[in-house]
Symmetry: C2
Subunit: 552 residues, 2 copies
């Protein structure tokens, strides 16, 4: 499998599926065409305001996380010396270290390991270690633990909450060299893979064997499986394949004291004691580093169909979702929501017309099954039904893979389209379905009241959009702005978290806590539960060296 | 919802679906009939040896677990006094306690709480408490913790490893009065329910709303959801709906010190800290008592189809499974394996002919989907294909619900059929698929070599059968005997555990550890993992009052 040591922010964004041809307007299904109207052409009035890619590359240096979060103080950890570095080199070999600033012999560019791709967080690490085996990592961690050297495990560094970059001078443990498939059983579908394997590469390996990795997300070209599991990534098809807590069968991890936790079970059922591996799923590297996982992979569906439609209200979106669950049942693999504003911004970024005219809401439905004819029939019948009931106003069904890719581009391209404006505030939250979209509307009102949007060309805020995984009650509230600014932050926080807390939602659905949400966890968790979490952290990492300043 | 305080072993067995009409031989599908042969009639030569139900009721008293497991010594716990009882009565009211032997005022029959339905374990508890609320349970536990009184939480008491009955004089905490549905959201499908709710009653509640409880097992008429979650029950449809680690969204539990863990999240995605609820799933009540759960329920499939077929070898069973996964994909909801011997014994117990003549192996396939026509077509095509490829020799497809129930009866009736003989040794294990059935054959050889079977009428062992959930690599190895006897045990243990350990299997796939497998956990878990488990136990239950003498 390919190993990749770093990817620039720009490259990374282009790996998203949204890079697929965007000019081909999907053609209507021959069978449903009679019921549907072809959409109009969206205006691109703000395209001249779009920052060019070259402007992006000249972006100023990211401010240090330590300067931005002044309430975070460096912990009582050891400071890296030349002697430490020499020890690590003797353990791993010269080529496994990137060093800058410890000794005079700077090796390689350490900057990409210190920054996140959103350009919101920057650490000050002077050493990156890239072990090749679990045993090497075990030796590294036990040495760090002994010398109280703080570490931050890093996968593809595609996170959105600053969880995988250092805050101060933590040593970066890059997993990119542990990227092999260990085994795959093509009867049971159980894959054992190292943590540093890239999601898309692994999925391709499985595709060649008729199987599928049960997780898919926009960053798949760069993100690593160990990072996916450590952040309990949800992604696009959780609706169909469930959460990693269900599909991950086993985990191998290294504790800070160097102990190797071999819980790499490849069986679907194993009721012999506490299910400890679950603690590592979503722990964001705070109690140990995941080195391998065993995961149950489903057979790759032989038939994939995609429909895209416009709706007049969020009420109708909910009705459509309910109908889809009932009529499409076992083949429904995605039910995605996008608001009008999100599609306007994608249209601007792509410089392309939308698949249909302007509606307040759009949904993308994907089905995956074993019989193309059956699935297409079900999807068509469903679309006819929801149009007859006047739930859906307008709809298209993709006719081939190009159109499927193109339609998905309107959903997956949102993050990239917003990223062009200089700054994006991202909230990834779970809210009970009925009230899910209300948050976006309430934020729009507040932002207008604060005079940050809607007043003219000088507006700080470019767009406030809501989209996400309707099937999982998971909303992405994104606020694109010309720059990160405290005025915007004051409008958003703690307002957003309080709003969610009141409704029993979660302040982090799938992105995790990282640095960004550490101090807000109290909005989603009570004192007893937080106390228990702190006990677990203390139990496994008594010196607190694992990914400090984050999580809980 | 109905509450049920006790069920006799005989009643409990009859609740199994196997009690369905067994005389109706399934009719061949009109479409596949031309390819299939009608099976012959199985002989019932040993029916005269079957113990009658009346003989069963006169069974001698079960020996005390403490007498059987002489290596287990009573812990340094407090001894129940009249003063303790008075305190509990003041907390819960008179009607919430069953007392026998503490004071002179015996109230109710305590025996059923001390015994398991397999008649293998008997404890000596003198007090059963039945709290009605989480707060009551919290007060009970914190008092027990303070006075070092050991407790054993008890659900439907349908377990197979002695996990839910006392060993010595532990106080039984019966959850049967906490049996209400708290809430159900019919858009998201999220159910919140109290731990004492009976599985079948809850599933019926969901059925009325078009939904399904994502777990199904033979004991559903008696087992309680809290017990299902505490033992991480797997059951018949894990293949389709996944494990409880994936479907349970939230848990409310009470820790031994009385703290209420409110982690009753109803959201599919919530990445805010360690997923602590996972520790309670499968903990068998050793770190706290689950009081409520939130669970994601799928829509009830509108179409269910069942096929039953005979095969010549386990090699062919594996081929059939692979074909089924590929061709039936998303609608495959069960792939069950039964050997010839298991079906012979069901036939004897039922006094009915088998659905087809004698083959070394039988499989039962169930599909569940949203479109009956599509599903039937897929199933038929699959059967035609596997018969054409000579993977399957003989097959029937159920034509209506009666036939579905009847065919399932041949699978679900095995446990009951074996139970008639006086004693059953049950091993519930996971083994990599390729070698799964070899264990049964190896045990047969050993048992014959020991002269315990195959020598004539005086054989101690009546039958050695293998069946289980092929889809989960989960084998049930059952040895029916006239009585529990050390000669049999010596042949079986540690042989079976060593055999499984060598092949990287699990000594407990879905039944848990309880008393039965506590000392064998080392065959499935290494020292590091066991050490971490003990740390967790110590962290949450420092006095060790929660379900002692069991688990780890």
């Amino acid at each position: 499998m390919a190993s990749r040591s770093r990817i620039s922010p720009v490259l990374r964004a282009s790996i998203c599926r949204s890079s697929a041809p965007s000019s081909s307007t999907p053609i209507l299904s021959h069978a449903v065409a009679s019921h549907l109207r072809i959409g109009g052409i969206a205006t691109a009035t703000v395209s001249q305001r779009l920052l060019s890619t070259s402007a992006r590359l000249r972006a100023p240096e990211i401010s240090l996380t330590a300067d931005k979060y002044t309430d975070i103080k460096r912990g009582d950890f050891g400071t890296l010396t030349a002697e430490h570095v020499a020890h690590f080199k003797s353990l791993l070999g010269n080529e496994s270290a990137v060093i800058d600033g410890v000794t005079t012999d700077a090796s390689g560019d350490i900057a990409p390991f210190n920054e996140d791709w959103m350009r919101k967080y920057r650490g000050q690490s002077r050493l990156v270690l890239r072990p090749k085996t679990t045993e090497e990592l075990s030796q590294v961690l036990s040495y760090c633990n002994e010398h109280k050297l703080a570490v931050v495990p890093q996968g593809g560094n595609t996170g959105l909450v600053g969880g995988s970059v250092p805050v101060f001078d933590e040593i970066v443990i890059s997993m990119s060299r542990m990227n092999q498939v260990v085994s795959f059983d093509d009867v049971s579908g159980v894959l054992v893979v190292e943590a540093g394997a890239i999601l898309e590469v692994t999925d391709q390996y499985l595709a060649e064997r008729g199987y599928l990795f049960p997780l898919d997300l926009g960053a798949k070209g760069s993100c690593q499986i160990g990072g996916n599991v450590s952040t309990n990534a949800g992604g696009l098809r959780l609706l169909r394949y469930g959460s990693l807590h269900g599909s991950v069968l086993g985990v191998e991890a290294v504790l800070p004291d160097g102990r190797i936790v071999d819980d790499l079970c490849t069986l679907r059922k194993n009721n012999t004691g506490y299910d400890l591996k679950q603690l590592f799923i979503g722990a964001e590297g705070t109690i140990g580093v995941i080195t391998k996982i065993a995961i149950q992979c489903p057979q790759r569906p032989q038939a994939v169909n995609v429909a895209f439609f416009g709706l007049e209200s969020f009420e109708q979106v909910q009705r459509a979702f309910r109908e889809a669950k009932g009529q499409l049942g076992e083949i429904l693999s995605a039910f995605e929501l996008m608001d009008s504003e999100s599609q306007r911004m994608v249209s601007v970024a792509k410089g392309a017309n939308r698949p249909m005219e302007d509606y307040p809401f759009y949904c993308l439905i994907e089905t995956s099954g074993s019989n193309s004819e059956h699935d297409y029939e079900k999807l068509e019948k469903f679309l006819e039904d929801v149009m007859e009931k006047e739930i859906v106003v307008d709809g298209v069904v993709a006719q081939d893979q190009t159109q499927i890719t193109s339609l998905w581009g309107w959903r997956e391209g949102i993050a990239e389209a917003l990223g062009h404006w200089g700054a994006v505030y991202k909230y990834d939250v779970s809210i009970p379905l009925g009230e899910m979209y209300q948050l976006v509307e309430d934020v729009r009102v507040r932002m207008a009241e604060a005079g940050l949007v809607g007043t003219g060309d000088g507006d700080l805020v470019v767009g406030i959009v809501g989209y996400g995984h309707m099937g999982d009650s998971n909303l992405h509230l994104n606020i694109a702005a010309h720059k990160y600014d405290e005025k915007i932050e004051r409008v958003l926080e703690p307002f957003v978290y309080e709003w969610i807390s009141k409704r029993g939602g979660s302040i982090s659905a799938e992105h995790g806590l990282g640095v960004a949400k550490k101090k807000f966890i109290g909005y989603s968790r009570n004192e007893t539960v937080l106390g228990m979490m702190k006990d677990i952290k203390k139990l496994y990492d008594p010196n607190g060296i694992m990914n400090p300043y984050k999580y809980i």
